[in-house]
Amino acid sequence: VANADRYRFGYRSSGRFRGFRSGRRYRFRRSLRWHDGAGLAKASGTDLDFEWSTPASGGYVLIGSTTTFSASSSVSIDSLFDSTYTNYKVITAFTCSVNDTNVFIKLRASGSDTSTNYVNPTFRFNTAGSTSEEGSTSSWKIVSAGSTETNSADLTIYNPAASKHTTLTTMGYGSYNPTSNSGYGNFAVGRQKSTTSFDGISIIPSGGTITGTVQIYGLAI
């Protein structure tokens, strides 16, 4: 709310609202009324020109905080998914300890990785025109990663907390093997065929360790 933080508000015994600014007292003309889900917003540059309005809905809502990991063979985060949001965005960036590393995502339930029932059509490509299709049944592959440059992936996970199939769309870039100049893009989609209600994820490299960050956002409607 623009400029609103300059004001302090309090209740008078009469139920009226009052505000203070720079030691001066301002009285609001309207009696305080209950505005469910609304907030006071500054309507113009004029002092005291506030009005009740509904906060903007929708957007990305960061769940918890950014998770930082260093030299980890696996990164697991629990208690992410519940009925608050239907779909989630995962943003991760990391380096690997070794080149030629594929990096995967697994869904978690009750503190354990789920390693079966994945469907994972994946398309890998580079600027030299090399393309290939690959995937996994024990996880979702998200990127072909390397050690010297940052590898990144942007995933959307649909309905993980519901007791029905969970699906995935993702795109990522990985340096894979910088010495042979083979950075790769990855497009992947996926389905988890079980009807488990999942509440977390693990990020796992095919070898070595990963160092970086991951943020998980709930997609508010």
């Binding site: 998770t67 030299a71 063979s73 490299p205």
Partner: protein, 68 residues
């Protein structure tokens, strides 16, 4: 000497032991086998493609033009 494996669980770095350690080692071993198989398949395809282009008397750019 076996290198220790560390995992990050809910923001806490910890050494993997027991079942967790074994599951990570098993997964990484299988993932690396899959990766090597995919690389071998890609290399075999590239060799077969080069051989076919030579037999047809086409360069890679000409072949790309044909299918564009």
């Amino acid at each position: 000497m076996m290198t220790k494996i560390y995992v990050n669980i809910n923001g806490v770095e910890t050494e993997a032991k027991g079942e967790l350690l074994q599951s990570i080692l098993d997964f990484q071993a299988q993932a690396e086998l899959d990766r090597q198989a995919q690389e071998a398949e890609r290399e075999a395809k590239a060799i077969a493609k080069a051989a076919l282009l030579e037999r047809l008397g086409l360069t890679e750019a000409e072949a790309a033009l044909l299918i564009s």
